[in-house]
């Protein structure tokens, strides 16, 4: 210490602290990213088609049942699927992270598989499985019970069906957040409780659960917002059934002739609700501190399940049948079957769909190229921005950090489709004419990914005690240097996870892309949606399986890059 201080002080004298300019630059970028499209939305919501001020858009929103009904449906769907997500994901995360569950790594991998499955692809797969007449599960049901032709066990074209499918592909958000929190919970705190005479369940109730509560709440919130802003699944399942959710309603308002002012008004209740929810979360968590990664904690201890080991594993596997095994089996069947919902046999198997996608589908190669370019660039840019903002807000590094945090969280309240329109309105006019280029999609994907990326990294920051950074700062490092040399390495796992998260998010993203694409900038998700509208299920299945393969390959590759390895911090 005494040796180090004078040396770094000398260095400091000649160095220039870039922290402030860099941070203000980020703030400016964020403002443009978020404030610009939002302003256009606000302006549009308060004007009529001629551009004059009016409140008639809001009046119609709350007086006409064609707007009111979708709003109610959306809340029912979002609340139900968020509750299901929490009930399923939290116990599963606990089993995986804190017990001696067999094949815990496999369970994690399967949750990842369901996460990398785009929800719209899952919805299409569940159409193959549970459409009332042609669905594979209903066919099996009729074959087993000898039921009549029109009888069915499942009908995916219902509100319940949509809730189920959305929960299938949203629960990984809750799982990952809770499991990560449990991974980080230091064993010492629980040990302390045990030493003081607390039983295993008492410890869980009084120590472990309160420690993961923020993650669970955040997870439930993310699940709710995901369900609320999702476009693909309701478009695929609700429209055939003859009802709208808010997102599909908004989307339908952009069909020719477009009514952006109504769409803008329709999106504002979603924005307000989200802001209220975020405030509520903040109030519940209050000012409790959750710094649990310091320099001196040990690994958490695993709870032995004894006789419950295999039953618990069985339940986890059964749960994961729903988002992973069954849908991919259905897609696999459809990929090689001449008719998508006929069980394929060796005799009927055909390469026709594969041949079509690889050799005939002329939109495929361009869409694939665009998607990969956008996926990698959005992940890199998004992680960088989220990292800086998360740092600024957790360490309160500059004045106005609250605004920065709010800006980074705000996009979560904007359905992708509305953001798409906001961006469309912003970037089809001077000075930024970006429509028709990949840039506008990049902006959309980064903006959409930002809230989750920011929350993830912020959660990661919160668990790292400032004492580690303080040490570096005391020794004379600037904030940026400290961020780069101390904090970033400590956050390595979080950063890699966030990168993968955004990359996967681009693969899953449909709602903004569907407004912003042009024929030159089509992405795979839009291509799949197009194919679904014309009922080309075989081609979708081939592309879907290919997409899973590519996504997993990228995620695995990133985790293998030297210096990016998944490291546990248990120093």
């Amino acid at each position: 210490m005494t040796v180090a201080l004078p040396a770094t002080r000398a260095q400091r004298r000649f160095g220039f602290d870039l922290t402030k300019p860099v941070l203000y630059l980020f703030a400016a970028v964020l403002c443009v990213l978020i404030v610009l499209p939002l302003s256009w939305l606000f302006i549009y919501s308060l004007t009529d088609q001629k551009g004059a001020f009016t409140l008639v858009n809001f009046y119609r929103l709350f007086s006409e049942s064609s707007f009111y009904d979708p709003l109610v449906t959306t809340f029912i769907i979002s609340i139900s699927s968020a509750l299901i997500c929490c009930t399923v994901a939290a116990p599963m995360a606990w089993l995986v992270a804190r017990t001696d569950l067999p094949f815990a790594g496999l369970v994690r991998a399967l949750v990842t598989a369901s996460f990398v499955t785009p929800p719209f692809l899952g919805a299409i797969a569940w159409e193959l499985l549970a459409a009332p007449n042609s669905g594979l599960l209903n066919q099996i049901f009729r074959a087993l019970t000898g039921a009549e032709r029109d009888e069915h066990l499942f009908n995916i074209y219902t509100v319940e069906g949509i809730i189920f499918v959305i929960a299938c592909y949203t629960f990984p958000y809750v799982f990952v957040l809770v499991a990560n929190a449990l991974d980080r919970t230091p064993g010492e705190l629980e040990d302390a409780s045990s030493i003081l005479g607390g039983g295993r369940w008492y410890t869980a109730r009084r120590v472990t659960i309160p420690l993961v509560l923020p993650a669970l709440l955040a997870g439930g919130l993310v699940a709710f917002l995901q369900a609320m802003t999702l476009f693909g699944s309701p478009a695929i399942l609700a429209l055939p059934a003859g009802f709208h959710t808010m997102t599909t309603k908004i989307w339908s308002l952009f069909q020719f002739p477009p009514k952006p002012e109504l769409a803008a008004a329709a999106s504002l209740p979603l924005l307000v609700l989200t802001v209220l929810l975020l405030r509520a979360e903040h109030m519940i968590l209050g000012r409790r501190g959750y710094s649990v990664v310091g320099g001196k904690y040990g690994a958490p201890r695993l709870i032995p399940l004894r006789a419950w080991r295999w039953p618990a594993f069985g339940v986890c596997t059964a749960m994961l049948m729903l988002p992973v095994f069954l849908p991919y089996a259905a897609l696999f069947n459809a990929a090689f079957s001449p008719i998508a919902t006929t069980f394929v046999t060796f005799k009927t198997a055909t390469w026709q769909n594969v041949h079509f996608v690889v050799f005939e589908l002329s939109a495929m190669s361009l869409a694939l190229k665009n998607t990969i370019i956008l996926g990698t660039s959005a992940a890199t840019v998004g992680t960088a921005i989220a990292l800086v903002i998360a740092y600024v807000t957790t360490r309160q590094a500059v004045a106005g950090w609250r605004v920065l945090g709010f800006l980074a969280t705000a996009p979560i309240a904007i359905p992708g489709i509305v953001l798409g329109v906001g961006l469309f309105l912003s970037y089809t006019r001077e000075p930024f004419v970006l429509y028709g280029t990949l840039w506008i999609l990049l902006i959309a994907f980064v903006t959409i990914a930002l809230p989750s990326a920011y929350q993830q990294l912020q959660a990661a920051f919160r668990t790292i005690h400032p004492e580690l950074e303080d040490a570096s700062r005391i020794l004379g490092a600037t904030r940026l240097r400290c961020l780069w040399q101390i904090t970033a390495p400590l956050l390595r796992t979080g950063i890699v996870a966030t990168w993968c998260f955004i990359f996967v998010g681009v693969m899953r993203e449909l709602s903004a892309a569907i407004i912003l694409f042009t024929s030159q900038t089509k992405v795979v998700s839009v291509l799949i949606y197009d194919l679904n509208e014309s009922g080309d299920l075989g081609a979708i299945s081939v592309i879907g399986l290919g997409m899973l393969f590519i996504t997993l390959a990228v995620v695995i590759a990133v985790n293998r890059i030297p210096g990016f390895g998944t490291v546990r911090f248990t120093t």
């Binding site: 003859g242 042009t518 024929s519 009922g535």
Partner: protein, 355 residues
């Protein structure tokens, strides 16, 4: 107003041609462009451009097949197919042109009323392939060479023959209101598909909007593209297709699927499907070459043999298995009225079907 004097028999004989009369009867403002052949110079110029972008409402499999056959014939020119419903294609082009993005060379829509709009905007290039002048009835192309009918589409019923026997099948629009079809039917959407837009307009005009009001209570599975209902009945998801691409049902039947077509007794909705070359095409020569080839014998024969659709080319040879257009009682196509009524059609449709 020559079309007022045309009697119903003529209309039936000509099959869906009235539309063409209406659209293409605009007075000539300039001399029609000369008929152009595929010359070595055109091929050379097209190859230099190396690509053609084709926005189309054709079913994807056929559009891609058309593209691949063209690519084989004119090596070095890539055909990029952008397929969607005609109404979406229309929306897309409007959106792109508004932002000064001129990515499309050739468009095939399934809704004649779009041509009226594009002409008014001045977006279309004049180009007349020699085959069209020689072998197409005048009602099938614009005298100024701004649009050419590529195919004629009909929207009959379809059934899954495993789920409903031909004898029990609905034979008329009135039959569809029978409670026994509740929850067993599928149909496309007029805000997506040009075929369905025209079908909806024609049914509403001939049978009244209250027909749709009643039909909507039958718990219909609502899909988007006209190419989807044929696939849904092939899957066995629904027994009866109310509207959609009849040619896909025929293709499915010929491929051994348990499906069949029925032409409703009140008349079958019809839509002529024109193609246009855009004035601002990024590949004007490749666009011309593609537009020419698609409407010449080879492209048109592929339309009949592979796609099982109706060709306006008088030299193209019909292939048995598809009922002659002149033997089908057709509803009357009226693009000018569709152009005016499109918003109203979508609004009322949404009012009854909720989506």
């Amino acid at each position: 107003m020559a079309r007022m004097t045309v009697n119903r028999r003529d209309v039936l004989k000509g099959g869906a041609t009235l539309a063409a009369t209406t659209v293409f009867a605009s007075p000539l403002r300039a001399a029609p462009p000369p008929a152009e052949a595929i010359t070595p110079a055109l091929i050379e110029a097209a190859k230099k451009e190396g690509a053609v972008t084709f926005y189309t409402a054709m079913d994807l499999a056929f559009a891609e097949r058309l593209g691949r056959v063209f690519e084989q014939k004119f090596a070095g020119i890539n055909v990029r197919v952008e397929r969607s419903g005609a109404e979406r294609v229309f929306q897309r082009i409007g959106q792109e042109y508004q932002s000064n993005i001129h990515a499309v060379d050739v468009v095939n829509t399934a809704d004649q009323s779009h041509v009226i709009y594009w002409k008014r905007q001045g977006w279309l290039a004049a180009y007349l392939p020699d085959d069209v002048v020689k072998y197409y009835d005048k009602k099938y192309y614009d005298p100024d060479g701004l649009a050419i009918v590529t195919r004629v589409l009909v929207s009959p019923f379809g059934i899954n023959t495993n789920l409903v026997k031909m004898d029990d099948a609905p034979k008329s629009f009135a039959d569809l209101l029978n409670p026994k079809w509740k929850g067993r039917m599928v149909k496309g959407h007029p805000a997506y598909s040009g075929t369905i837009m025209n079908a909806t307009f024609q049914i509403a005009r001939d049978l009244g909007w209250d027909y749709f009001e009643k039909l909507a209570k039958q718990n219909v599975l609502q899909v988007q593209s006209a190419t989807d209902p044929p696939k849904r009945i092939a899957l066995g998801e629904r027994a009866v297709m109310i509207d959609g691409a009849g040619y896909l049902v025929i293709r499915g039947k010929e491929a051994g699927q348990p499906v069949d077509v029925i032409y409703p007794s009140e008349g079958t909705p019809v839509a002529t499907s024109p193609s246009v070359l855009m004035k601002a095409a990024p590949h004007p020569n490749a666009g011309k070459l593609f537009q020419n080839w698609m409407h010449a014998r080879e492209g048109q024969q592929l339309l009949i043999d592979y796609a099982r659709q109706y060709s306006p080319h008088s030299q193209a040879v019909e292939k048995p298995g598809v009922r002659k257009l002149s033997d089908i009682k057709l509803m009357r196509e009226d693009p000018e009225a569709v152009e005016k009524a499109a918003d109203e059609v979508k609004r009322r449709y949404t009012q009854y079907f909720k989506v």
